[in-house]
Assembly symmetry: C2
């Protein structure tokens, strides 16, 4: 151990940034804190050169490395399950450039999402990806291809990454992508790194695409007497070119949990399900879109269209939507699921969940992004013993993932696979696809030292 | 030869779809017809099963395979430079499904772009990618990640490919991507296949994203007294959220070629450079955007803003823009270049070209996509002998690509690398990136039988 410390301090000549004793629990887990690994050392580099030095050292000695940002992930991505080195990138948190001529920002991977959003918005620009967890790092967002509510109009993180600098497992530094808008010049290494959950390389610099900041934003709540009716409305809203920024769905039973937790009142309590819509852009355009959306939903099967003009009501609605996971967790431990299905299968999938809930006696709460079929599902422990919980959860989750794939869905829409969803992902994914992913891993990391037992890896 | 024919006819039991004698020249080249390969046979499969059978056969025997669509490429992508089998996918040209609930179409790779666009537009939907060559196949578009004029607003082909079925070099069939809008489930094999120029797998099915058809479209010509002034205007047009569909630039000297070729008159002849703008969407939104764009350009440095309300004038302007390459070719042989640079470097790049033209005495004509820095450049032979042309072209092209990379640019924005741009791409691309691309190639095609000497390959 003394030898390792000495070697690491040769690369990082600041003793405060190499921790080998009394390693805090936060470095050994994710935000849920259920899975826990071990580490020889936690290293906090401040430059690409230092990251490169650490990786070369680790590769030469075949020491496992687990890179991490803020550690806000939900699937064990930052758990050092194979021991070795934890590489914490949160000190690489500088915004290096804001380029008004190419509408790009260049940042280090440890920049916090909400800081970055605030920074660019102050300058009249806008970074659209908006996952629920605002304290995540940009590097983490890229590694999971984070999504969020605004994906309906703006797309996901992948759509805003123009270029990356990354350190390969052996310490070599590559640049993938650039400030160029078009690119038909060889295989897209950039797109391979995005969403690779830190299994191929350590991201050390990010060139991000920005857009002009929208002038205004309007939200509305649309109540329905069934979730199916709401999902059907979604298809009409999209088809009529109303260009919504977000289309969220919540069932009444879930709203109730949030109301009890926050002591606030959601509008139109007699409905069974709701859509929450947002529109942004220039004032006149937004107003026209809202009007058209209102006409569309009322012509189909909505019970009402409640434009959130009252500031307090607007805040309450989004506060409740944002607090749903916490509202669930206040009552019981839960397993978060972020399955994605084709948008027209959302209602059928939720129907299956509701049936399974009845059959299994295990409470399940679902809500999420109706505009893109990304269902957030909390499978709730209740007062089960650890053994009961493990056994029943595994059985029910297997059934849920199997159903999702039968509907043409996928394991994860935005959280990634990590360790927690690996069992289901490996079971449902074609063996040939997994084989290709592992071969590609080998092209980047022959010795398999970087997050090498997560996601698609064995 | 008789033995090969027999074996191929065992896989494809239709003698008309296996050609081994009197192979037409079109199968041995690209649309320019300058590079020419040789082939043992041309095979025209009609199903994934047949493609799989052919690939397995070729892989087992280590026979080289060159897949092709309509052969409209400009960089030798379809030239069977290593001999072997030409796999023509144009008979796999069926639109398999139009799914109004997920806004997707599923098509075979041989479907022709303009047929597909017309088909979906008739149904009120829209496929935004719009490369200049409308007779290309969808499979070819995906293989080069084709761009086109509408990329400013809508993005490129990559942004509209949701899923692919593809046959690996050894004959195995994979599915990459799906009808799901979000995906954080393992490495993105789909994004690796897009733009891979048929070096990794043969695409046999494509799930494409559609959007609602825009209600209306308005174009305008904006004259300037220099190209630099025009490019500066582009940044303001984008920044002011005017949301243009296309921003094309053309210099006066290039317009002149088109006018002489087509015998039509471009508006505002006394200017030195022009932008051609298009806006599409809902009527009121388009009118507001056009008005704002007009204000923006007139406040900066435009000489006028000519809204193309006259139908004849509108047609003439786009006819001229579309005919520029042909106008050049009517005068002389030319080498087409599709370099991309960051949008704010476009004027500097064109300035360099204009200087080089003077210095070298070789005529160069440039125009293209100002909204995304994608410069179409025709390097013109004139009355040079073959030897002079080869030598001078190579020298000038090397200087041009080197300058583009110094400005942060790339070899190709939309045509791909193929054979014709390989020399420049290999010279300017980092060795480490090339090494990774080749390792990835090895993960798909260990025996290196599929387009294995093109693009990033040695």
């Amino acid at each position: 151990m003394a030898e390792i410390l000495q070697e690491l301090n040769f690369i990082i000549q600041d003793k405060n940034r190499v921790i080998t004793e009394k390693i805090e629990d936060k470095y050994l887990s994710d935000t849920l804190g259920r899975l826990k690994g071990t580490a020889l050392a936690v290293v906090l580099p401040v430059s690409t050169k230092e990251v490169s030095g650490i990786m070369k050292w680790a590769y030469d000695r075949e020491v496992q490395v687990t890179p991490r940002g803020a550690g806000t992930n939900l699937v064990g991505s930052t758990v050092p399950d194979q021991g070795g080195i934890v590489l914490d990138l949160t000190l690489m948190n500088h915004i290096l450039e804001l380029d008004f001529e190419t509408f790009t920002a260049t940042v280090e991977p440890g920049v916090i999402l909400q800081d970055f959003q605030a920074y660019v918005e102050e300058k009249g620009l806008f970074y659209p990806p908006d996952p629920g967890e605002k304290l995540a790092t940009i590097g983490g967002n890229i590694s999971t291809n984070a999504g969020g509510m605004r994906a309906v109009k703006y797309g996901v993180t992948r759509d805003y990454v123009m270029g990356l600098e990354a350190v390969l497992p052996d310490g070599k530094v590559i640049e993938a992508g650039s400030k160029n808008i078009k690119d038909s010049s060889g295989l897209s290494l950039k797109n391979l790194l995005i969403g690779s959950e830190g299994t191929l390389a350590v991201i050390t610099k990010c060139i991000l695409k920005l857009v002009p900041k929208p002038e205004t934003s309007v939200s509305a709540v649309v109540p329905f007497d069934s979730l199916g009716a709401g999902i059907e409305s979604v298809l009409h809203i999209i088809k009529e070119s109303t260009n919504p920024t977000a289309i969220e769905f919540v069932e009444k039973k879930v709203i109730k949990l949030g109301e009890d937790f926050l002591h606030i009142q959601f509008p139109y309590p007699e409905a069974k399900a709701y859509l929450i819509l947002t529109f942004d852009g220039r004032e006149e355009e937004v107003l026209a879109n809202v009007q058209r959306a209102k006409n569309v939903v009322l012509e189909t099967n909505a019970l009402d269209f409640i434009k959130l003009e009252d500031k307090k009501l607007l805040e309450d609605v989004w506060k409740l939507r944002g607090a749903l996971v916490k509202a669930v967790e206040a009552v019981s431990e839960q397993e978060p699921v972020d399955i994605v299905v084709p948008i027209n299968r959302t209602a059928e999938f939720i129907g299956f969940i509701n049936e399974l809930e009845k059959e299994s006696g295990m409470q399940m709460v679902s809500f999420g992004h109706a505009g893109d079929g990304n269902v957030h599902l909390c499978v709730i422990r209740g007062n089960r013993s650890q053994a009961e919980w493990e056994a029943e959860k595994s059985k029910n989750m297997s059934a849920i993932y199997h159903k999702a794939y039968k509907l043409g869905g996928l394991t994860s829409g935005e959280h990634g696979i990590g360790l927690s969803k690996k069992e289901y992902f490996l079971k449902e994914t074609d063996a040939l696809n997994l084989e290709l992913m592992r071969s590609i891993k080998g092209a980047f990391d022959e010795k398999r030292i970087l997050n090498s037992h997560k996601a698609y890896n064995i």
